[in-house]
């Protein structure tokens, strides 16, 4: 049996209370998405994940900063650090804590899709020699990353992980902890790849204490329209990967 997460399920309690949107989901046009992947120290291969998830081999963290110029709650920039994992046989990225530039976006993304976000200064900037993203939370730089020397590729060559967001759902009038699956669809307008570079990462700020990036893997930057999904699945963090997934 493949390895499974060993982290206490108490680490997955709390998170936003989800009230899924009824009807049409958000379409977010012209978003800029910077993604940087690193392998992390194998000592943390199981300690970041709940029993409901398998680690990838090798273990990874995927950093994503998304600039959303238009949305029902106005423009915002969101930063995530997701642990590469498998829900049974399905590839997923576990998001314990992320950051977003506005309170309205934090509330809306949390309520509709379970994104566990704190408000911080999140920026994404594009130059000809690099695309860089930064998060400053409570005066501290918790993430600073870049794609160096961008070169054009096809958007079809980029793969994004579906999220498992640490959140709460209501069942029998009680709020319970669940990992909420969010798998937006992307329509690419342009894409680049380049060298991954990580200047700063405070793992504890993202709820990932012990995640030590040790080896750069890849970096991409895309302009895409994002269709936010209708929620369908959640996972019980306490159960085994085979038994954890539930239909919402």
């Amino acid at each position: 049996m493949p390895l499974v997460g060993t982290r206490s399920v108490s680490a997955f309690e709390g998170g936003p209370k989800v009230s899924p949107l009824a009807g049409e989901q958000w379409l977010l046009p012209g978003c800029g998405i910077l993604q940087v992947m690193y392998e992390i120290d194998a000592d943390a291969i199981t300690s970041l994940l709940p029993p409901a998830l398998h680690p990838t081999i090798p273990p990874t963290v995927v950093f994503t900063i998304t600039n959303v110029p238009e949305s029902p709650v106005g423009p915002f920039v969101m930063a995530e650090a997701k642990v590469g994992s498998r829900s049974g046989a399905r590839p997923r990225g576990l998001l314990v804590t992320g950051f977003v530039s506005t309170g309205a976006a934090a509330d809306a993304l949390g309520a509709a899709w379970g994104y566990p976000l704190r408000v911080a200064e999140v920026t994404l900037s594009k130059r000809y020699d690099r695309v860089s993203g930064r998060v400053v939370a409570s005066g501290s730089r918790v993430l600073d990353m870049a794609l160096m020397n961008p070169e054009p590729i096809s958007g079809n060559d980029i793969q994004y992980l579906a999220n498992l967001n640490v959140a709460q759902i209501e069942r029998d009038r009680t709020w319970i902890s669940r990992l909420v699956q969010s798998d937006p669809e992307f329509t690419f307008r342009s894409a680049d790849r380049g060298g991954p570079h990580l200047e700063a990462f405070e793992a504890g700020a993202f709820g990932l204490a012990g995640a030590i990036p040790v080896f750069p893997v890849s970096a991409s930057y895309a302009i895409a329209d994002i269709q936010m999904p209708e929620l369908r699945y959640v996972a019980d963090p306490a159960k085994s990967p085979i038994a954890a997934v539930e239909r919402l």
Binding site: P2, P55, T56, P58, G88, A89, R193, V217
Partner: protein, 369 residues
């Protein structure tokens, strides 16, 4: 139709001091039995770092052991990773020739390029380069076998003239194959006059189209070797049991375990944006096949169940143009060894005789000793 067995050599956790030893010994016992029962070939993969899924990083050693313990079964190097961070073309040619000599001319030579970030990243290989180096190696290795002295100045590999020794026993050289996981690689095989070593399943209809196109293209190929090896080899699971229901359930458990372990790996495409890996390779195809049937039904293309069902499945594969089927017999020791051996015996007794030998394919005929 020819039958073979195929090894990833998966080793389940927990890993005790002798777990790998026991799994290897089980595999060798299966190979000895396969030889006695008349299976035609045994193939072993080359994988690195793939925890539990495949502990087969030195297949040339395993296959040499197989050759030393058997008399007739052909040994398939499936595949040599044609990427300089993994291997060296001179060494690959030398090892293959030695295996052919010590086995008495029983080598089948598979080529490929790896499909996981786990391996490519671990070895420090550039995913953009693998298809190009594979292409270059497949053209020079047969020349290393057949030319007395070989020298070459290429893109990713160059060497001054040297005598590469030993030479294979099979003349002009062993049959050459390409591992086919990505769509379109079967056409790469055809264009180069190489056998298609299919590592995906797919339904009968999907495979029929691919095989027809392979056969059409290979007629106009420019062979990289000294002869055209027009053959279609595919992989399947085998669980043959007198009781249909038991065999099907055990077989589905085997397929499901294999698939589940495969999905824990990090495919090249999942980690690194590149057009060199346009899809996820073997893994999604396996999952599709293992889960393609409605609840309670047996996936149509899998050789699991009782002999009657398996005969029907193989007839279907034969009708769409498959020349050889290689069976995965176990995954993570899910099936007890005695049941694996009984499954092989029952298959040999009741299924194999239904598939009379046809004439030798072109490649095997000209590639023999």
């Amino acid at each position: 139709m020819k039958f073979g067995i195929f090894y990833e050599i998966s080793v389940p956790r927990p890993w005790g001091p002798t777990t790998e030893y026991e799994v290897y010994q089980n595999c060798l016992e299966q190979v000895r039995l396969a030889d006695e029962l008349g299976f035609d070939q045994v193939w072993a993969v080359e994988h690195h770092f793939l925890e539990e899924y495949s502990h087969c990083s030195a297949p040339e050693i395993f296959l040499t052991a197989c050759a030393m313990q058997t008399k007739n079964i052909r040994i398939g190097r499936g595949i040599v990773v044609c990427v300089p961070q993994f291997n060296n073309p001179v060494k690959a040619a030398e090892v293959a020739a030695t295996m052919d000599l010590v086995s008495g001319g029983r080598l089948e030579f598979g080529t490929g390029r790896s499909a996981t970030w786990t391996e490519l990243g671990g070895m420090g290989a550039d995913p953009d380069e693998t298809k190009k180096t594979w292409d270059e190696w497949t053209r020079i290795i047969p020349k290393m076998w057949t030319q007395e002295r070989f020298g070459y100045q290429g893109r990713a590999f160059s060497m001054p003239q040297r005598t590469i020794l030993p030479k294979p026993l099979q003349k002009p050289h062993p049959p050459m194959w390409v591992a086919v996981t990505s769509p379109g690689t079967e056409l790469d095989a055809a264009d180069r006059g190489m056998g298609s070593l299919g590592l995906t399943f797919g339904g009968f209809r999907e495979q029929e189209k691919k095989i027809a196109e392979y056969r059409r293209r290979i007629k106009h190929c420019e062979p990289v070797g000294s002869f055209v090896n027009e053959q279609v080899n595919t992989v399947n699971f085998l669980m043959c049991h007198p009781d249909l229901d038991y065999g099907a359930k055990a077989g589905q458990r085997l397929a499901g375990t294999f698939n589940y372990m495969a999905e824990q790996l990090l495919a090249a495409r999942q980690a690194y944006p590149t057009r060199s890996y346009p899809n996820l390779g073997l893994l999604p195809a396996l999952r599709r096949e293992a889960t393609s049937a409605p609840e309670g039904a047996i996936p149509e293309g899998l050789c699991i169940g009782n002999p009657d069902r398996i005969v029907e499945v193989i007839k279907n594969w034969e009708s769409v143009g498959v020349d050889r089927i290689n069976f995965l017999l176990n995954a993570a020791e899910t099936i007890p060894q005695h049941e694996v051996l009984e499954s092989m015996r029952l298959f040999a007794r009741e299924v194999m005789p239904k598939f009379a030998r046809t004439a030798e394919p072109v490649g095997a005929a000209t590639g023999g000793v």
